[in-house]
Structures are given as C-alpha cells and as structure tokens.
Amino acid sequence: MSYDTITLVWFFLLGVLLTGYAILDGFDLGVGILHPFIAKTDRERRLVMNSIGPLWDGNEVWLVTFGGALFAAFPNAYATVFSSFYAAFHLLLTCLIGRAVSLEFRSKVHSPAWRRFWDAGFFLSSITAAALLGIAGGNVMGGMQVGPMFQYQGGLLDQLYWYPLLVGALTVSLFALHGAIYLFLKTEGELQQRVRSRILPLFYCFAFLYAAVTLATWIHVPHATETLSRHPWLWIVPVLNALAVLNIPRAMHLGKPGYAFFTSSMVIAALASLFSVAIFPNFVLSTIDPAYSVTLENARSSHQTLITMLWIAMIGMPCVASYTITIYWIFRGKVQLDSNSY
C-alpha cells in the first residue's frame, strides 16, 4: 500500500474511532445531561445511572484509543491539537474524572447530601464534557492560530468565540437527544413516559441548532464547502443527514424507539463524516498563514509505522467488536437494580 493511500486509510480509521466514540459515549453523556431533569426519586436516579453502568467505561475507551491512534499515526497533529487546547482539555479531563467517580461513588453512602453532591457532579461534568468536545470541534473546523513550526499562538479565550460555542451547544443538544432515546429504550413505566415527553422538545432544540450551525458553517468556514464543491458526490452526506434528522421524530411516532436510536446514531456518524470532509486535507488549518497548517502530509508517521499500526488495528478491531457486542447483548433489555448496581 502506498504511503499516500495508507495515510488516507488512517485518516478514515481515525474518523471511525471518533464516530464510534461520539455515538457510544454520546448517549451516556446525554444520560448524564438529562439525569437531574428526568429522574425525580433516588430510585429513578439510580435507574438512570445504572442504564449506562456497565457500558460507559468501555465507551470512553474509544476516546482513549482515538488519542493513542492520533498520537501514533499523526504525531504532529496530536502534539499541536493537544497543546493548543491546554486549558480546555484539562477541563475536559476534570469532567471525565468527575463522571467516573460520580457514578462509582454516588450510591455507596446512604446520605441524601452525599448523593446530591455526586448527582450534581455527574450532571455538570457530563454537560461540560459534551460542550467542550463540541467547542474543540468547532475550533478545528474554523481554523486556529497556528504559527510557524506548528506552534499555537492563541489562548483559551481565542477558542471561546461564537462559532465554537454554537457547535458546543449543538453537541450538547445532540447528545441529550441521543441519550433520551437511549433512556427510553432502557426504562419503563412512569419514568419512561417522562423520558418520552422530553424527546420532542429536545428534538426541536437540536433541529434549530443544527440549522443554525449549518448556516454558520456556510458563512464562517468557507473552506468546509470547498471539498464538497470539488467532489459533488459528497453532497449525499448532508442530504442523507438532513433526512436522518427528520426520521428521528418519525420513528418515535411510529413506536419504533430502536429505529430512532439507530437513526440518531446515524446522524452522529454523518456529522462526524461532515467534520472530516470539512477539515480535509488538514488537521488544523492555520488562520495566520495556510502554509503553517497541520496537514495529513506533514503530520503523519513513517510509512512503516502506519503499516504496523494497520496490522495492529486489523488484529485488534475484530476482537473489540466481538466483545463490545457481547457486553451489549448480556446487558440488553430494561435496566434493573440488583445488589451489583451502583
């Protein structure tokens, strides 16, 4: 396989990892965002947390593996992106830690104050993590102040302008919607009815932000549409995406929540693909001088390492898929509390 081909393959595989992460951790971040609004009693809160209990850890591994694969396949992109988002990523790490321990510790002590504390931690860390992921994505879409030798010259405040904030809001609403559909699948009775009543408002919220971000991208990120105009067949992605968005309320209306969940997963996949198409062939476009951009070509590892990594992925991914499916199968069905629950 030629050097350029395998570079593209790795760009694609990173997209797969990012998509997998967004779909899987998306619903459990969403569950965290909805947690205080949907679950009223302690029992309901435990049901909501336990709906993702056995799964969130594995879901987060997709992010870790994405980070590792980016490090290995495109070290310059990893170094530039992670050091540019210094403050934002440390905040993201704080949130990921906060979520893990909130889930783990909340139900270990029978004290209302203790549980309220971790409930608040679970909500705040989930919503902030979702927003930060969106904000980071928005910044990468819009281009960043990368100077000579890939050195970032901005700071946290340069990253918090309107466009990334809008993308952050879109991410929060998307994950909340995705999480609500997931919760609908995992709950029953009164709790499920309450979840149901939130899905449509969340959908309108998401649809509005989706339209706003699409328009904003058109205006603010001209290079995003360049790839589309060079390869018109790629238009199929945004078109299918719009149809998929509309299919979510339809599927819920038809009483097919599983189909709705599949559809919202596809919406996430389509948005992740659009993101990849928009930034290609850069990882980070420099807003100072395009010559300073971090591109696929100047960020990649050696030919041999990309090939070795592909072997690792080809051996590893089927295993990953097999036990991911096994775990989801074992923990299928409505969530129940037992002595092993959180």
Partner: protein, 491 residues
C-alpha cells in the same frame, strides 16, 4: 519565577504517581480475585463465592480510580510534552495505540461482566471475565512499560531529519517493530513491574484478612483467602528481588549513569567497588555522608565478580549526569522495603504452615501494614527509574555501531504552553486528586469495614433473586420489575 520544565516535570510526576497507586492494585488484586473465584468454581463452596464477590466490590472502586486518573496520562503527553510527542510519536504512539486496542477494550468490556454480571452470567463465564480483566490489565502494563523502556534503552529505530517549513527537524522512526518492542530493558522491567503489582495485590488481601482475624470477623473467608495470599506474597516478593537484580545488572551497559546515581558511585578506581547500605549522597562534593559501605559488594552484584571495578559517575560527561540523591535514596528505600517484605512473607508463611499464625498478633499487625510498604516500594522504583534517566527524556543509544541522538527533557516540552498554564493545571489536579483520594479511602474503608457477606446473607440474596425472577415472570412486562427488593443495597 518557576520554569515550565520543572513545573511540567512536577505535574507529570504528581499525576503519574497518583495514577500509579491504582493500576498495580488492580493487577495484583485481579489475580487474587481470579484465584478465589477459581476455588469457588472448583469447590462450589459459598464462602469462596462470598470472598470473590467481596473482592469484586473492592476491585471495582479501585479500577474506577485507575481509569479516571489514567486518561489524564494519555492527554498529558500532548498537552505538556508536545515536542517530545513529535519526536517519539512514530515509536511511542504505536505502543500507546496498541495498549488502547489490545488492553483497554478487553479490560473495560469484561469489567462490565465482572462487576455487574454476577447475576447475569454463570460462574464459569464470570470466571472467564475475571481472567480477561486481569489479562487486560497485564497487557496494559506490557505496552506502557515497553513504551517507557524504549525511552530508557531505545532500539529498532533511526533518526530521520524532516523538512518542515524550511527547517530540519529530527524524529525517531521505527525500523524494526519487534526490536523496538523487545528493546534491551523491556522484558526485565516488565516482569519486575508486573511482579511488583502482584506483590501489592497479595499483601493487600493478606492485610485485610489478617485484620479480620485480629478483629475476629469473617474468619472463615479470611482464612481461605490468606491460604492463597500469603504463599503468593512470598513467591512474588522473591521473584521481585530476582527480576530487580537482573534489571540492575543490565544497567551497567545500558544506563551506567543511572547505576552510578542509584549507588552514589562517584569515582571510578581500579579497585573493586563497594556498595553503600545507606548514606546521604552529596553530589556537589562527590561524596557520601554517614554512609556504610560494604567492600566489593557492588562489583559482585553487578558483574558476579568481586574483583571487577564498576564505572562511576566520573565516566559520564557533566552535562549528562542525573541527580544522585533522589535515585540513591529511592532505590535503597525500595530494596529495604523489599527485603522487609520477603522476611515478613516468609515468616507468615512458615507460621501459617505451623498453624500458629494467629498466635502472633504483632506479625499479623505487621502484615496489615504491609500494603503500604508494597505501594511505597512500587513508587520508589518508578522514581529511581525515571529520575535516574535524567537529563534525558529519550536516552541516546548506539544502534549497529551508529550513535543515535537522544532527546533532553528540557527539549521535550510544549513550546506554546506557559508556566502559568502548567501551574494552574497543577493546582486543579491537586484539588481534584486530594478530594478523590479522601473519597477513595473513605469508600474503601467502608467496604472493608462492611466485609464479605455471611453465608446467611448470601443464601437470602439467592432466595430473593429467585423470588424476584419468579414474580417477574408472572408480571411479565409489568411496571417496576425487579425493583424494591434490593433498593438500598447498592454495591
């Protein structure tokens, strides 16, 4: 004003040491848990089941901490050590990615069954899951220790000068993947690291169970677990000494500066080299205060030959010398604690065999405290290894007779990150980690004080479970399935 290098090193040291409290316990406890469960599957005795369920609950709390603090590490290479990441990405990144694909998915997937699956899968499937989680945590150690070993004794690579925006920038690229994986120190360091974790796990179980015996609680379960934990503690502490000795012997060829620092060996002579049992090294005056030195011993330890002199720090160019005080003290602390653990485990096993262990309360209390020794020894070992590698972040090496450049720690930093940013993230981590540590101790203590379930509780649980399954079948699809019964019995 503090500089970015010192702050970044402090941050990395602080976050990795905090992280390193948890994974070794996960690995070590994982094995003990597997052995308890194996005994349960083979004998079917409910006491073993009770033990396995109890260790699972302890394991879960610890594992969550390991995951939460571990993600930080992967991000930190990029956030704080961008130049390093660019230099080693081709090598180090592949090991890290392999860790993600081969280890983390395995661990996290089967962890779900291990923790939440007790009532969902059969005992054999559960045992298999425990084994997979244990193997996953070992694989994770494998890849990260390989990556770290490559920094210490790089192999299977060459330096390529890349043209970037008109400037030539060096980076390490893999030429031989397996030579990189099996670099000169990886096997020794890996076995020593994993065994250190197994020592901790064995002493942790022995500690909790000795505590129960001292307090006359859960005695049946405690005795059963001790019968596994004490012998394994003895075997693993002995193996730790053996693998540690191997590691140290290789140093004289691969990293003589580190060896000289560990032993505070400043001056090379043509006489056999002695070994300091303890002392207070003073690198500035190249001497050791208050030290006691056994003649010939270092020569014997390093070369198996009491007459052959060991090269000292004076053989190393001044700019390439690591600090001496810290590696010396940490190394001696580790060896001292290790010796103490061998003695304690040996004595406990002997008395256990004579069935008089419970008559020696002082020894039981000593075993209760032993996990602290094991944890400290693990940390001290890492400090020795990493501080002894300074001033290099990637050690220089010779490949096929060609000298390869290394990378100095000060050249590995993120160029765009300021001291204020690093300082604020240190403060952030300090606050979160202190809180986490307090909560972890609190919850862990709660679990240990609660202890394993009695046989009656276990039997009652099984009846309840069967009853709730029955009512579930009757009220098929009704509301509130399986709820209520165990409402307040979380974890």
């Amino acid at each position: 004003m503090m500089d970015v290098e010192l702050l970044s090193r402090l941050q990395f040291a602080g976050t990795i040491m905090f992280h390193y409290l948890f994974p070794p316990l996960s690995i070590g406890l994982g094995l003990q848990l597997f052995l308890c469960e194996l005994a349960y599957v083979r004998t079917g005795h409910p006491a073993w089941e009770s033990a396995a369920r109890f260790w699972t609950r302890v394991f879960a709390v610890n594992f969550a901490m390991g995951v939460a603090t571990g993600i930080v590490m992967e991000f930190e290479f990029g956030t704080n050590w961008a130049a390093y990441s660019r230099f080693v990405g081709d090598v180090f990144g592949s090991a890290l990615a392999a860790e993600g694909i081969f280890a983390f998915f395995l661990e996290s997937g089967f962890l779900a069954i291990l923790v939440f699956g007790w009532d969902r899968v059969g005992p054999k499937m559960h045992l298999f899951s425990t084994l997979m989680v244990f193997l996953g945590s070992v694989f994770s150690a494998v890849w990260i220790v390989i990556a770290n070993s490559w920094q210490q004794t790089p192999a299977g690579y060459h330096i390529v000068w890349q043209e970037i925006q008109g400037e030539s920038v060096p980076r390490a690229e893999v030429t031989d993947f397996w030579a990189m994986v099996f670099n000169p120190s990886s096997v020794d360091r890996l076995t020593h690291t994993v065994i250190g974790a197994l020592v901790l796990g064995a002493f942790f179980v022995a500690s909790v169970c000795s505590f129960y015996l001292l307090k006359q609680r859960h005695e049946d379960v405690a005795r059963r677990c001790l019968s596994i934990a004490l012998p394994s503690a003895l075997v693993f502490t002995l193996l730790a000494a053996l693998t540690g000795h191997d590691s140290a012997q290789k140093l004289v060829e691969t990293q003589p500066a580190k060896l000289a620092a560990m032993e505070a060996h400043f001056e090379t002579t043509d006489q056999p080299t002695g070994l300091y049992l303890f002392g207070w090294p003073d690198a500035e005056n190249e001497t050791v205060h208050f030290g006691i030195r056994v003649p010939w011993l270092l020569s014997l330890m390093v070369y198996n030959d009491p007459g052959k002199p060991v090269p000292g720090m004076d053989q190393i160019p001044e700019s390439d010398r690591p600090p001496v005080w810290l590696p010396f003290q940490m190394f001696h602390l580790m060896v001292g604690l290790g010796t103490m653990m061998i003695v304690a485990a040996g004595l406990a096993c002997w008395l256990w065999y004579r069935k008089t262990y419970q008559n020696h309360r002082w020894l039981m209390w000593a075993i209760v405290l032993m996990p602290l020794a094991a944890m400290t020894a693990n940390q001290a070992g890492w400090i020795t290894a990493e501080v002894g590698r300074q001033p290099w972040i990637v050690h220089p090496s010779v490949q096929d007779g060609v000298e390869m450049m290394g990378l100095r720690t000060k050249d590995g930093l993120s160029e765009s990150v300021t001291a204020e940013q690093v300082l604020s993230s240190i403060v952030l981590f300090a606050v979160i980690y202190s809180l986490l540590f307090a909560v972890w101790i609190f919850v862990l203590n709660g679990k240990i004080q609660h202890g394993p379930e009695t046989m009656d509780e276990l039997a009652k649980r099984k009846r309840d479970r069967a009853a709730s399954r029955m009512s579930e079948r009757i009220a098929h699809g009704g509301t509130g399935r399986g709820g209520g019964l165990m409402e307040d019995e979380a974890g």
